[in-house]
C-alpha cells in the first residue's frame, strides 16, 4: 500500500524540511488529479508571487507528478490506461517552496535513480546545460519517451540540488523520496 499523508508527514525526510504543508495528495496520480492539484497550487501561489515564480513552481510540480504517473511501480488500470500511485506534498518555508514526491520503485529503478540523482547534483549550471543537451540528443535518436530529462530539468529550473532518499519495503521494492527546493527572491 502507498503511504497515507499522515504517515508521510511523520517521516524524517519531510520533517527535516520543516515549514508548513500547503498541499498534499496521496493516491492515484492521474492526469486529471495532476491538473486539479496544479490549479489549486497556481491559485494559491498567485496570491503571493509574480507569474515567473508561479510558473517555475508549477513546472517543477508537473514534471514530478507526471513522473509518478508514468514510472511508479504501484499502478492501477483504468479505462485501458495504466496510472501510477504515489504522493505529492508541497511545503512552504520562509524562503522557498519544496515539492516532494514519494512513490514505489523497483530495485533496478532504484539503482538508476541513485546514480542519476547523485550525478545531477554534482553538476554546475553550465555542466547541467551540457548534460541536458547531450541527453536530449540521445533521446531524440533513440525514440524513447523522454525519461531522464525530467530530473535534469527540475534541477536546472529550481537552481538547487534535489534531496532524495530511499526506504526499503518488504516486497523488494523501495519508496523513492525526492524533493525539489525553489528559492523565492524577496
Amino acid at each position: 500500500m502507498h503511504k497515507t499523508i499522515d504517515e508521510l508527514l511523520q517521516t524524517t525526510f519531510i520533517k527535516n524540511i520543516g515549514g508548513r504543508t500547503i498541499l498534499s495528495f496521496s493516491g492515484v496520480v492521474s492526469q486529471d488529479s495532476i491538473v486539479g492539484l496544479g490549479e489549486a497550487l497556481r491559485s494559491e501561489l498567485h496570491f503571493a508571487h509574480p507569474l515567473n515564480i508561479v510558473n517555475k513552481v508549477f513546472a517543477i510540480y508537473v514534471e514530478m507528478a507526471q513522473n509518478i504517473l508514468h514510472y511508479s511501480v504501484e499502478r492501477i488500470d483504468s479505462n485501458g490506461k495504466s496510472i501510477g500511485i504515489g504522493s505529492v506534498v508541497i511545503i512552504a518555508t520562509e524562503s522557498a517552496y519544496h515539492i516532494v514526491t514519494i512513490n514505489k520503485v523497483t530495485a533496478d529503478q532504484r539503482i538508476i535513480l541513485e546514480k542519476r540523482c547523485s550525478t545531477i547534483n554534482k553538476l554546475t549550471d553550465d555542466e547541467l546545460k551540457d548534460f541536458y543537451l547531450r541527453k536530449r540528443r540521445k533521446i531524440m535518436e533513440s525514440e524513447s519517451s523522454g525519461a531522464g530529462l525530467g530530473l535534469i530539468d527540475m534541477v536546472r529550473r529550481a537552481g538547487s540540488p534535489i534531496l532524495y532518499d530511499f526506504e526499503n519495503t518488504n516486497d523488494n521494492h523501495s519508496y523513492f523520496y525526492v524533493s525539489s527546493k525553489i528559492l523565492i527572491e524577496k
Binding site: Q31, V35, E39, P50, L51, N52, N55, K56, F58, A59, V62, E63, Q66, L69, H70, Y132, L133, R136, R137, I139, M140, S145, G146, L149, G150, D153, R157
Partner: protein
C-alpha cells in the same frame, strides 16, 4: 488541403493550421500525459502541407508552459521543419515568450539551440 483546428484543453494548446494563411499557430500550455499522441497529427499536417507543393510557412508559438515530453515533440516538429527548409522551403518560426519570465525565454532558446532554422524569439507582455 484541409485546415487543422484543435481546441485547447487545460493541458494541451489550441492549434490552428491554415493552408490559405500559410500559418500554423500554437496557443496555451502543453503537458499532456502522452505528448506523442497529441502532436502526431500536427507532424502529418506539416508534411502534407509541403508535400502538396506549398512553399511558405509561418510557425507561431505562444506557449507559456510545456513539459519535457512536449519538448521532445517540439524538437521533432522543428526537425521536420528543418528538413523542408533544407529543401528550399521558406519557413519562419516565431517563439513568443513572456517578458517577465526568464524560464519562458530560456526554454524557447533551448529548443532552437541545435537547429538550423530561421527563427525569432519575441517578447510579449503576457501570453
Amino acid at each position: 488541403m484541409e485546415n487543422l483546428k484543435i481546441e485547447s484543453t487545460k493541458y494541451t494548446p489550441e492549434v490552428k493550421a491554415a493552408a490559405e494563411k500559410k500559418e500554423i499557430k500554437f496557443y496555451g500550455s502543453s503537458y499532456p500525459e502522452n505528448a506523442n499522441e497529441f502532436y502526431k497529427p500536427i507532424y502529418q499536417w506539416v508534411r502534407d502541407y509541403f508535400d502538396e507543393g506549398n512553399d511558405d510557412l509561418m510557425v507561431n508559438f505562444y506557449i507559456y508552459y510545456f513539459n519535457t515530453s512536449t519538448s521532445k515533440c517540439f524538437m521533432n516538429l522543428l526537425e521536420i521543419i528543418e528538413t523542408y527548409a533544407k529543401k528550399g522551403r521558406n519557413i519562419k518560426v516565431n517563439w513568443h515568450y513572456s517578458e517577465d519570465d526568464d524560464d519562458s525565454l530560456d526554454n524557447g532558446e533551448k529548443l532552437f539551440m541545435e537547429m538550423s532554422i530561421d527563427y525569432e524569439l519575441i517578447p510579449v507582455k503576457k501570453i
